[in-house]
Amino acid sequence: MSTVNRETPRPAAGRAGIKKELPDHFKDYRHVWVFIELERGHVHSVSFELLGEGRKLADKLEVQLAGVVLGPPGEAIGNAIAEAFAYGADIVYIVEAPLLADYRNEPYTKAMTDLVATHKPEILLLGATTLGRDLAGSVATTLQTGLTADCTELDVDTDGSLAATRPTFGGSLLCTIYTLNYRPQMATVRPRVMPMPQRADKPVGRVIQHKLSITEDEIVTKVLGFLPDSQSATANLAYADVVVAGGLGLGAAENLQLVKNLARAIGAEYGCSRPLVQKGWVSADRQIGQTGKTIRPKLYIAAGISGAIQHRVGVEGADLIVAINADPNAPIFDFAHLGIVTDAIRFLPALTEAFTRRLSPHNRDKLAS
């Protein structure tokens, strides 16, 4: 029911019940905030991507861009602050407390909602990571405001409201969502959907400290331990410069080796389409697409992948898309830059060989000189 109305919205005029005038108590909400996701000493790159987008929004609105850093005292928080400025923040808000060492919903929600209530931003952006999604939902509910998920485009409307565009139904359509009468306007963006902005060393600017008004005794959930993922390149797929992926066209699990061989030869990460995960040929963290990873490599080679919309939305940010597919009418050729209609099982070894020859140490020395 909820969806029925939303998918076929009546024209804006039909929503007569919605007045456009922002209630007075929200009128002093200003500035754009980006949540800087610091976990176990490491800032998630999505935060920098968001600072890039936040900068553009703040410039259009002629307001300031702030980074929000929550974390335990130590070197990491200092680095996070410096990086926030280097990626474009004008101010940084911090809440520094030992009990923010591991992410937990209760203290993080408390810290963020208190900050918002005190300093009143008009826009708050978070990464759509497991941490960001967990936090954003609680913060928006506490603040009783709108939250637009997984945006692919953020812009400012002529009247200054945030126009947040997101895919619907796996990317077959896009919709633009507004949070008209509430503040802050909140949105999440998945890693790698926005380009990484230029980093420029800048002096650390204004840092505003805020106290955490919750104590360990008040927090029910305790972290008993943390098991990092095995070294496997899981996290690297989204951020790899070169990715080779295989789909159902590979025909059999063992043919995945052909994809891995090519990936190894060119120093790439390998990935796959969803059916290979469902068949258990590949682990879920290698899936590329709407319900997997979004990638943004310089080169993406897809072998035996048809190019369904749910796959396409995860790879469109690649600089160069190369498709190897037996079917000349495969949809992937509609968005790939280079295509070859051939049997991937025969062709992949040939391509691996071609690269190996070209990139051999001998040729490498020639390149270097």
């Binding site: 076929t8 919605i18 976990e39 937990r104 939902g137 993922d229 030869a265 280079l338 990139l359």
Partner: protein, 283 residues
Amino acid sequence: MHIVICIKQVPDSAQIRVHPVTNTIMRQGVPTIINPYDLFALEEALRLRDAYGGEVTVLTMGPPMAEDALRKALGYGADRAVLLTDRYFAGSDTLATSFALSQAIAKVGETYGAPDIVFAGKQTIDGDTAQVGPGIAKRLDLLQLTYVAKIASIDLAAREIKVERRSEGGTQMLKSRLPCLITMLEGTNEIRRGSIEDALGAARSGVLKWSAADAGIEDLTRCGLRGSPTVVKRVFAPAARAEKAVQIDTAEKTLRDTADELMAAIFTRQPALEHELAFNSGA
């Protein structure tokens, strides 16, 4: 133990088509399914009931036809089904949805016993926001445990629960307390085949249909379109890329020549790449 599990009926998005002219979703004839992510939560709920005793109540908010989804859930072995349906709920965003659902859960609790655990799916395949679970937790003041990969233990007497939670780059081991809200990660289990008795029971037993008033909702301004801070202003098709892929011709060429030609085309388009690959590959 009383467990409430929230499920959503969604269109089978593998079969969704978009109207070429109006750009609207063509729902006619599109079959609906239980949101696939919710089945992992449902199975977990049923397993806990089987292990600890008690009851599983399934809850959905949706149009009258969402009853199908509830019947399916009863067929898998749920004990009770509640359909929250009212025209006031039309157009709900996640804030309004979690408001209505949390009111209904409170009512379920009053009527059949307060839930120890409320389950939700990780996300849906249509709205796909993953916001409703956290919304319910916040409103009902339940401890929020999202992306749970495994429930390691439950101590009903001590009201204690230990879970493994997926987080960025690893797994958190958490100790928390009941009542809590859990969103289950996909792939953590497989939904059972319902028994014959459950199938018969599902056909026989009634699905409870609650209006907003039945769920004890007094403030209708917090429901549906009116209670939704987000407004969908525009729906449109993504811009198509103008040109198709440049094809590498394979006719009358050896595999080796074709491969060389494709590689050359790649390096022509991305000249900087050759250096990078050479040094990354470390062949």
